[in-house]
Amino acid sequence: MKDSELLALYTQRDETAITHTADIYGRYCYAVAHRILNNSDDAEECVNDTYLHAWNAIPPAAPTNLKAFLATITRHLAFDRYKARTADKRGGGDIPLILDELSECLSAGDEGDRVTDLLLLKDCLTRFLSGLPATKRWIFLRRYWYADPVKEIAKALHKSENEVSVTLSRLRSQLKALLKKEGVCL
């Protein structure tokens, strides 16, 4: 079934849309969630929540890429769940490591307004990503959006893990410089 047909089912409020979504994108969403949560039950719940959110969002939302749209919802939900869970000190796959890496892009400082920070960061990230060569952008997103392990990124690109790690390190430095320049991270 094509995305356009699937979206039409959502628009018509046909509940089979969810079944079809699960058939087509269920495993993918599960993978996205599992990367962040590192727990099968949590990931499964997260995916089910994704369907509900998609059902509520479409319409009015009319995503041009349904897979990416669902992945975005899944990631948000999974990370929310991850944050709630960290209070219980339960691990989350590569996420602690990824957060550790991302902390390199930020300097210690006062917490700003969360919403403002998010908006500023999104704006900076958009420009940062737009200026990157395709492969570097892909590496950055696979690591920090999809939370892929470095090993898998390296395998996909036929590169060594070290090469990917070095690229990521440079990208973090570039991002840090941009954030500093923009005053997001003083």
Binding site: N65, F79, L141
Partner: protein, 415 residues
């Protein structure tokens, strides 16, 4: 600010980025690496030059001088006796060699140990002084992997005591001297790109040299030498290049990467996946062409480029019109952001950055120049850049008919 916020912000980036990352980038084919080598052999633009001392150690000073392009030291002219582009005249044996219009430039360069100064000619506003010999190496690992018998195709630029690059007939004395010493010497007419994208025609001294030749190169102490070179045994190029071949001194034939017409170049899919500015640049060229032709054939997964129109060079102001014209196509077909501003503004906006006089572009960059505006006609010449490489030209005529401006003529490629 916590990393969690940053992670969350990354999760909120626009959907196209997320969608793009769903697809694994294509692996760059091996031939492309080799193609870059050959491409840059043919490209006589003086960029990416590594300085090193040949006859006596010397290190040119780093300056904040502007880019090489447009500097008086590089204000070049062709020799009078060479035939018109793209021919090459040999000295003493006549031969022809294509002077291709190359748009791909290697980002990666690995220079042998003896090339100790990783500096870029673009950081200098001059050529080498007498006694200096700067080396520009095309392609990765070229020198490190060669044996003493490997033959290089070498291009030489000469400069005087002021660091001014020799042009025109000035080059002949040295050509004759080297030819008389037994080297296989050629003259090649080519061009560099000026600051505004104009072509600066120049004659290069070329020849085949072994490493031993280079190590014992009989320099004239009154000259500075700038040497561009590359291995010739790029057999893989045979497979890639359909254009005229050149016989090498080892009896092989090989070709030069040529992309005279970008719009339908073979290997495009592979090229756009190259991990540097080239893909941005080629992508944007194609978009630009498609836009100008009002031709929606080209499809791209990328949709977040900024096409920056430099307005510095425009004395009259049709830029708004051009921008709106391009933007109208862009918004419909490509969601391409078009912005017009001066270089200064472009720096502020982060489209470009100047590092030691070297312009680094973070977006594709179009300079609008030589623009003429009449009541119902606009003629413009656009020059498209990525990084600091001038690369592609579009001559454009817009006419107003029934209160609507439409593109009536477009000539692309060589201006």
């Amino acid at each position: 600010m916590s990393p969690e916020i940053l992670f969350e912000a990354i999760g909120r980036i626009d959907e196209p980025f997320v969608a793009e990352a769903l697809q694994t980038p294509k692996r760059r084919p091996v031939w492309l690496n080799l193609a870059y080598v050959a491409a840059c052999l043919a490209l006589a633009m003086a960029a990416g030059v590594m300085a090193y001392s040949y006859s006596r150690p010397s290190t040119p000073p780093v300056t904040d001088a502007p880019s090489v392009y447009g500097e008086s030291a590089f204000d070049v002219t062709p020799a009078t006796t060479t035939t018109e582009y793209p021919f090459i005249t040999t000295v003493p044996n006549a031969a022809k060699r294509p002077d291709p219009y190359v748009v791909v430039y290697p980002e990666e360069r690995v220079v042998a140990e003896e090339h100790t100064s990783p500096r870029d000619l673009a950081c200098y506003a001059r050529g080498p002084y007498p006694g200096e010999c700067w080396i520009d190496v095309y392609g990765p690992h070229i020198v490190a992997q060669t044996d003493p018998n490997t033959v290089y195709w070498v291009e030489l630029s000469l400069s005087n005591e002021n660091g001014r690059i020799f042009t025109g007939d000035e080059i002949y004395d040295e050509a004759r001297r080297l030819a008389n010493l037994g080297y296989e010497i050629y003259l090649k007419e080519t061009y560099w790109m000026g600051y505004w994208g104009e072509q600066k025609h120049v004659t290069h001294l070329c020849g085949y040299f072994t490493k031993e030749h280079l190590e014992y190169f009989p320099i004239d102490p009154s000259l500075g030498y700038l040497i561009d070179y590359c291995r010739e045994d790029v057999a893989e190029c045979q497979r890639v290049l359909p254009h005229s071949s050149v016989r090498t001194s080892s009896g092989e034939t090989w070709d030069i990467v040529m992309y005279p017409e970008l719009a339908d170049t073979f290997g495009y899919d592979e090229l756009v996946n190259k991990d540097d500015f080239s893909h941005l640049y080629i992508d944007a060229v194609r978009r630009l062409l498609a836009m100008m032709k009002q031709d929606a054939v080209f499809e791209s997964e990328r949709n977040s480029d900024v096409l920056y129109l430099d307005t510095d060079g425009v004395t009259q102001t049709p830029c708004d019109l051009l921008v709106s014209d391009i933007q109208s196509y862009a918004s419909v077909e490509y969601s391409l952001t078009v912005d017009a501003c001066t270089r200064e503004q472009a720096e502020e906006k982060g489209y470009i950055q100047c590092v030691g006089g070297h312009t680094v572009a973070h977006s594709v960059w179009v300079i609008v120049k030589d623009t003429r505006v009449d009541a119902d006609t606009i003629q413009a010449n656009l020059c498209l850049y990525a990084g600091d490489r001038a690369a592609y030209f579009v001559d454009l005529t817009l006419k107003q008919q029934n209160n609507e401006w439409t593109v009536t003529e477009m000539k692309s490629g060589l201006s």
